[in-house]
Amino acid sequence: MQYRERDDKVIIFLVFLQFLFSYISTKIISQDFKLSFKELLYVLITGSFLGFTYNYINIITVLFLYIFLIFLWRNKSNIYEVLIYCSLGMIISVLSDHISSFFRYAIFGNKSSSFKQLLVLHMPMYYIIGLILSSLASYVLKRILANIKNQNKSPIFLTALSCFIWLTYVFSIILIRVSGDQPRLIILNLIFLSLYLILFFGILITYILISQKTYETRRREDEYMYMERYTQDIEKQYNELRKFRHDYQNILTSLEGYLVQEDTAGLKQYFYSNIKKHSDRLMHNEYMLEDLSNIKINGIKSIIATKIIYAQDMGLNANFETSDVITRINMDIILLVRILGILLDNAIEELLYLGYGQLLVGLIKYPDNILIIVQNTCRDNLPNIQTLKKRNFSTKSSNRGLGLSNVSDIIDQCPNVISEIIVDNQLFIHKIFIFDKEK
């Protein structure tokens, strides 16, 4: 809005109100409802400062406003999200200002920019429209960001898009200010601004739909690959079994030979040198994936099979067990597969680091829930669980620190899923309870 009455105090106050609104809007969009005295003080001071400078730099104030906003948010989230929040907050602030101006002109005509009218008519309308838009944007953005996070992507595209739209807005309001604050121009500008916003959401939705499709395809490919490896492994085991049956036949025949000849000494020697060896081999790891056939959900079966086969290939002691047939789990399977992937990767890494130990994975069916356990040997001096769960924490110095915090994020999203973590006695145990009914 442009202020016709050159009253400094009034302008300071109005600019301050606009800054206050941008702050509230950004708070709503970022869903940060914590109030702090420090923040309010910051808004009060910078808002008044911006009001003073408005007389000298006019509409350029809006850029400073944006920068102050980013500065205030800088530590609340990662920089990409902060830029989205602040840009969207500013976009909504400008848009509601325009809509409000449009109504003011429509109802009261051209000469309605007096201080009193601005304060009584414009500001309340501006706040109401703005709050509605912010809540809407906050709802949509939350879902979009969750979607992006689920696909393990960075929101950089969204950041670029919102910054771009915001800069276009700035450009267009500076332009309109240079050519004077005509009602017609305001309407024209409003149309442009709305078009931009629609374009923004249009591009965004298309982008998300496309990326969701590619994600889905990739996931299916992965699943197919896992299933193939699982089938190969089953075949390998089947061949082992055939070989064993063949050996077994031979053993029986030779035993019979010794018995017919009543050669006890030979029998004894034969038993200890040949048969005992076989019985030891029977207990060996590679026969322990048979329980996997109890899981009737392909995604879950394949992720467990792949990781355990991988661990066994690496020479680790890894087993899976379930005594129940699992046909249904009350949780988005894609999310569960992600959780299992992270937990199993962590476990395998830890065992590779240690060079010894055991990985146990189990599914247990209770009357009203299913329990998934991932248990592995771990080092003695592991930090406390709170530290392990921190974002960006990793026991290795490399760049993958999203492990456990991601798992907690997913579980927080599911009201019927709870977890338990135990780090004790060189064992790391992660339990996940999935309830059949929503709690």
Binding site: S323, I364, Q375, N384
Partner: protein, 241 residues
């Protein structure tokens, strides 16, 4: 007195178990008695129904020649004797370790190995069960009852660092010395479970006995296990008094 039960369908092995157990109880003068040794799982259930206050230590074979397995029997024993200790005797090795431990909350399992090893393992189980039993009897421990999954657990107050309300509604995270347990509850009532608990923040209830250090500048409480929780300015005054 702890009652010891055996359910094993191979007579020779059953006799062997009986001998190991009786000898060890006598030798160590444990407060235990072998009350029932049988090959029929229903005998144990009948005994428990007739003597409802029994706290037992059960040695069960997994493969019983009956219409229920040792695991099924264990689940039914659990219903009748919540505090009992169950030990499986099995040939299966580690094949179903997690099932033993979690499905029926078995105390331990013994692999049918050489007689000396079996004997040693049985003695260990008797010792552990005895220690637990004595602990439960003599302690003045204050316990917090919590339901996770399908089982009810009792947690010693001194193990509790703090409660934290979760991001999802109705979920509360219980921070213990070495573990974190989520359960369904609201944080509001948790400050009332004992005098040592204090609502230090909208989302936290802290155990005052386990505080290591209070960082006044950053409004953080450090616990004895190194974890931290938040404290509000208002609660800070209350806590320091």
């Amino acid at each position: 007195m702890l009652s010891v039960f055996i359910c094993e369908d191979v007579i020779s092995q059953k006799k062997q178990l009986e001998k190991y157990i009786k000898d060890y109880i006598m030798m160590e003068e444990l407060d235990m008695e072998l009350v029932l040794s049988t090959d029929n799982p229903y005998d144990i259930l009948a005994y428990l129904k007739a003597n409802p206050n029994t706290i037992g230590l059960y040695f069960l074979d997994v493969d019983l020649k009956s219409d229920i397995t040792g695991i099924g029997l264990a689940s039914e024993i659990r219903e009748l004797d919540v505090l009992g200790n169950i030990v499986f005797v099995t040939t299966h090795g580690e094949l179903t370790y997690l099932t033993f431990v979690y499905k029926v909350e078995a105390m331990d399992y013994i692999i049918k190995d050489t007689p000396e090893k079996i004997c040693k393992r049985i003695q260990e189980c008797l010792d552990i069960a005895n220690k637990r039993h004595l602990n439960d009897q003599n302690s003045e421990k204050k316990l917090f009852k919590i339901k996770t999954g399908s089982s009810v657990r009792y947690i010693d107050h001194s193990e509790i660092m703090f409660f934290e309300s979760g991001l999802a509604p109705h979920k509360v995270v219980l921070h213990l010395r070495n573990s974190q347990i989520e359960f369904y509850h609201t944080i509001n009532e948790l400050a009332n479970i004992g005098d040592e608990f204090y609502r230090c923040h909208k989302s936290f209830v802290v155990n005052k006995n386990n505080i290591q250090n209070i960082n006044k500048a950053e409004k953080i409480i450090e616990m004895v296990n190194g974890e931290t929780c938040l404290i509000s300015s208002r609660a800070m005054k209350g806590l320091l008094e």
